[in-house]
Structure formats: structure tokens, C-alpha cells
């Protein structure tokens, strides 16, 4: 009996038994090796994260070759630890889910290969998960959230407004035309001589500064556009710093940080409000590393209250890359019986809207 037939039988048996599903998630798309066990898409039994931040901090950024090597060293013990902490064995799993893109291709392949090996050896379903979908699903781990919803995805590589009409389905309402918000944070931090990663440092500094001391541009783009642009803002901040330096003036770093952050948040928040008004969707979920930004959390909450929509942020611990969110995002596909074949590959670039297109191995109930 081939793998597909064995998986089909296992899936039928598990669904007929009606016992809770246990999905093992694996995430290796960038600089964290993570594995998690999640029950029924919501209950996190374990979520082990081996961060490589220290090694990459030495280099001031992620070095793909170094990341891949670390993932190879970490993936087996991290998966074992996730199983141990959840008190389950490979035999108990309902499915294995893994990030297959976007990310560093060499890093992705480590997780994808580990997941395929487990799926093959234990004849259990395999579900490839889109990394950004995972970040959006971090919000579902808190419970009580159902589509339709809007997602504001903000990270080092992404700034997008996404409409999610139902589970596993995504449409772009707006996206950045140049730099991602997190990237602008890092560039500005770098030109201010602040440490890497720049986002948290600027967020903290901004709280001590006066945003009214200087005004940076806000890129609203065309009337009604939900797209973003942060490249002009980045250049404006850098020019201001250079000009001050040439005139021998000293700008208070906290004020620069505050004015820069005010400009970023203003655009992020107002574009989100516009998306809410246009779609009539009242649930907004924020996802990605910048979701940990305190300024964004406070100001978006306040604006949502005024406008009468609800906004959810994942717990800080689930804002960064982790495997629990990957297992959570896989759950709706598990319910539908949509799985990936063993030829699943890792992709450096993978549009979110293509995830739902498969190709899937459809094992309907």
C-alpha cells in the first residue's frame, strides 16, 4: 500500500474516532528553528523556539548559509523537545505542518525535509503552510476569532492589508510599493547609529521624544489607495539627519524617533481604518514582528475604539516566528482534508494568494 493510501486510511480513522487533532508544526524560514504541538488548531501544548539571534547579531543581520547550518543542527532536538513537552509521540500526531515559503530557501528546505521525513515514516498527512498566513493565524491561538477579517501584516519584509473572507483564503487590499515598514525602521535606526534590530529600539526611544519637534512626510498615495510607501519617509529622515550634521546642529535622537514613528503609525492606522470602512469587516488582526510595537498597539486600539471595530494583536511571544502559528494555520486544511504531496518544496518567494491554490492531495471525508 502506497503512502497516499496509508494517509487516507489514517485520516479516515482519526476523523471517525472524533478525537482531538494533534498537529506538529515546524518553522525554519529565517533565523528561528521552531517546533510546536497544537491541539485542534487552538490549544498550544508546546512551542519550542531555538533562536539564532545571537549568532546573527554578530553579523548585524541574517546570513543565509549560517542560518541553514544552524537549522540542520537544531531541527531534530527542537522537534523532540516539542513532542516531549506536549507529552506525545510521533504516533499520536494527526498531521505534520511546515512552513514552505516565503523565506530563505536553504533554511526552508531544512524544515520541509524534516516534515516530509516524519510524514513519510509515520504515514501521516503533510501540510505546507504559508509563513505570512501563519503570522495571521497567531491571532487564532487566543481563541474566539472567526473570519471574515482584515489582517494588517507588518514586518521586516512585509507591509500588507489582507482581506480574509474565510479560513485559508486571502485577498490583497493593499501592499507596500517599496520598503516594508520594518525595513524603514531598521534603515533609520542604522543611520541614527542605533543597534540592530532597529524596530524595538526606535519604539522605546520614541516614547521619550516629542513627535511635534519635526514633521516627516506621510505617503497617502492616491485617494482611496490602501497601498503603502515608506521609501520617501526613510529618505526624509536620513536627509534631516545629514542636514543637521552639516550645520553642526544636534537633533535629539528621541525626537527623531518619535516623529518617524508618528509618521509610520499614522499611515498604518489610517489605511487600516480605510480598509475597515471599505469592506465593512469589523475584526482586524495584526500580524508580523511590528505587531510587537507598543506605539502601534496603543494607538491602533484607541483609533479602533473611536471607529467601532475590534483589533487583535497576538501575544508578544507569538509575534515573532514560531511553529505554533504554523500548526494553527494548517488546522483548517486538516479539517477539509487538503494535504500536500511528498514532493513539497521550499520557495523563497510565495505569494499568499497562491497558497490556497495548492496543488493539494484532497482526501475528502
Amino acid at each position: 500500500m502506497g503512502w497516499v493510501e496509508q494517509v487516507r486510511q489514517k485520516y479516515r480513522r482519526d476523523r471517525e474516532a472524533g478525537t482531538p487533532s494533534l498537529i506538529l508544526g515546524i518553522e525554519t524560514s529565517c533565523d528561528e528553528t521552531s517546533a510546536a504541538v497544537v491541539r485542534d488548531g487552538q490549544e498550544v501544548l508546546s512551542n519550542v523556539i531555538a533562536s539564532q539571534i545571537e549568532i546573527h547579531q554578530q553579523f548585524g543581520g541574517v546570513v543565509p548559509e549560517v542560518a541553514s547550518r544552524r537549522h540542520v543542527e537544531n531541527v531534530t532536538p527542537v522537534v523532540q523537545q516539542a513532542l516531549d513537552q506536549a507529552n506525545v509521540g510521533l504516533e499520536d500526531l494527526s498531521a505534520v505542518a511546515v512552513t514552505y515559503g516565503p523565506g530563505l530557501v536553504g533554511a526552508l528546505l531544512v524544515g520541509v525535509t524534516a516534515a516530509k521525513a516524519i510524514a513519510f515514516a509515520k504515514s501521516i498527512p503533510l501540510i505546507g503552510v504559508h509563513h505570512i498566513a501563519g503570522h495571521i493565524y497567531a491571532n487564532f491561538l487566543a481563541g474566539g476569532l472567526e473570519p471574515p477579517l482584515l489582517a494588517l501584516v507588518v514586518s521586516g519584509g512585509h507591509t500588507e492589508l489582507v482581506y480574509m473572507p474565510e479560513h485559508g483564503q486571502f485577498e490583497f487590499l493593499g501592499r507596500t510599493r517599496d520598503d516594508a515598514a520594518g525595513e524603514a525602521y531598521d534603515k533609520v535606526a542604522r543611520s541614527m547609529g542605533l543597534s540592530y534590530p532597529g524596530g524595538p529600539v526606535i519604539d522605546k526611544l520614541a516614547r521619550e521624544g516629542d513627535p511635534a519637534k519635526m514633521v516627516f512626510p506621510r505617503a497617502w498615495l492616491e485617494e482611496g489607495s490602501m497601498d503603502f510607501s515608506f521609501s520617501g519617509l526613510k529618505s526624509a529622515v536620513i536627509n534631516t539627519l545629514h542636514n543637521a550634521e552639516q550645520r553642526g546642529e544636534r537633533l535629539e535622537p528621541a525626537d527623531v524617533a518619535a516623529a518617524f514613528q508618528a509618521s509610520v503609525l499614522d499611515v498604518l492606522i489610517e489605511k487600516t481604518v480605510l480598509a475597515v470602512r471599505k469592506t465593512g469587516v469589523v475584526n482586524v488582526a495584526v500580524a508580523g514582528g511590528v505587531a510587537a510595537n507598543r506605539g502601534l498597539r496603543e494607538q491602533l486600539q484607541a483609533r479602533a475604539k473611536q471607529e467601532g471595530f475590534s483589533v487583535l494583536f497576538p501575544p508578544i511571544s507569538l509575534c515573532t516566528d514560531n511553529a505554533a502559528m504554523i500548526a494553527a494555520a494548517a488546522y483548517p486544511f486538516y479539517r477539509k482534508g487538503w494535504f500536500h504531496h511528498l514532493d513539497l518544496n521550499g520557495y523563497a518567494s510565495l505569494p499568499l494568494t497562491e497558497w490556497q491554490e495548492g496543488p493539494f492531495l484532497k482526501l475528502h471525508e
Binding site: F59, G61, P64, E65, V105, A180, E183, K187, I238, A348
Partner: protein
């Protein structure tokens, strides 16, 4: 040497795209210019010319980015690696001698790893949106590319 002045980011991208048409796997380009001079813009043009469908971002968090195209594009920023870039085994030479075109920002840190024959691209900000682009070649192959670029862009 090839030198030109552009007045819009689109014009910068267009020069880069024309250069890309002359490139082959294994070609190495160094790219220098101040923050905001347009290094990412230039690389976006190269990517377009190499048939890369993805949007090119600056390699800020990820110090080496790979793009699939007619010819793969490897975009790296060595600034933060500093002196250790050449000292440690970071896989950089695998890109330089690989199947794609490598574009390197802050290449002075990996001078010792660079193939002798490579192109140097300098972007200088003259005014708000005015940029001076200088492309010079080191080695026979690079000299031929510069010559061809001059011929094409003069017509």
C-alpha cells in the same frame, strides 16, 4: 568607463536593465553609494533585466538575498559583516562563483574574495532626484561589457 546622469528612479532602473542584458552567470558587480543614493533602485533595474519577477528589497535584515530569474540574482550587503565577511565561512564565494549574477554593496570588506574581473558601479547623489552613475570594468570581460554599454546607450 561608462557614465551618465539620471533624473528619475525609472531612468536609473532603465540603465541597470540595459546593463543586465549584457550579463552572464558568474558576473560580479560591486555597488557603492550613500544611503538613499539609489542602490536598491539600481538593483531593481538589474533584476528586471535579468527576468526576476519578484520585487527586490534592500538586503537589510537578510544580508544575502537570492532571486530567481532568467539568470539568478544574488544581492548582498556586506556592510554589517565588516571585516569578518572574508574571514568566516559564510558561503559568500559560493555565490560569487555560482550560477548567477552577484551584486555586492560594501564590497571593500570582501576585496580578497572578489574575482579579479568584475564591474564597479558607483552612484552619486547630485541633487534631490539627480544621480550620477559610473560603471567601470576591471578585467577583460568587464571592459567589453562597459564598451558594449557605451555603444548601446549612445545610439
Amino acid at each position: 568607463m561608462f557614465q551618465t546622469i539620471t533624473h528619475t528612479p525609472q531612468a536609473t532602473r532603465s540603465i541597470a536593465a540595459q546593463l543586465a542584458e549584457l550579463l552572464e552567470p558568474g558576473d560580479v558587480l560591486t555597488l557603492s553609494g550613500d544611503l538613499g543614493a539609489g542602490k536598491t533602485t539600481f538593483t531593481q533595474g538589474l533584476a528586471e533585466g535579468l527576468g526576476v519577477a519578484d520585487r527586490v528589497n534592500s538586503p537589510t535584515f537578510t544580508l544575502i538575498r537570492e532571486y530567481e530569474g532568467r539568470i539568478p540574482l544574488y544581492h548582498m550587503d556586506v556592510y554589517r559583516l565588516g571585516e569578518q565577511a572574508a574571514a568566516e565561512d559564510l558561503g559568500i564565494d559560493e555565490y560569487l562563483y555560482g550560477d548567477g549574477v552577484s551584486v555586492i554593496e560594501w564590497a571593500e570588506y570582501i576585496e580578497s574574495l572578489l574575482p579579479e574581473d568584475h564591474l564597479q558601479i558607483k552612484i552619486r547623489s547630485l541633487a534631490e532626484s539627480e544621480r550620477e552613475i559610473t560603471i567601470s570594468g576591471q578585467g577583460d570581460r568587464s571592459a567589453r561589457i562597459v564598451e558594449e554599454l557605451n555603444r548601446r546607450c549612445r545610439i
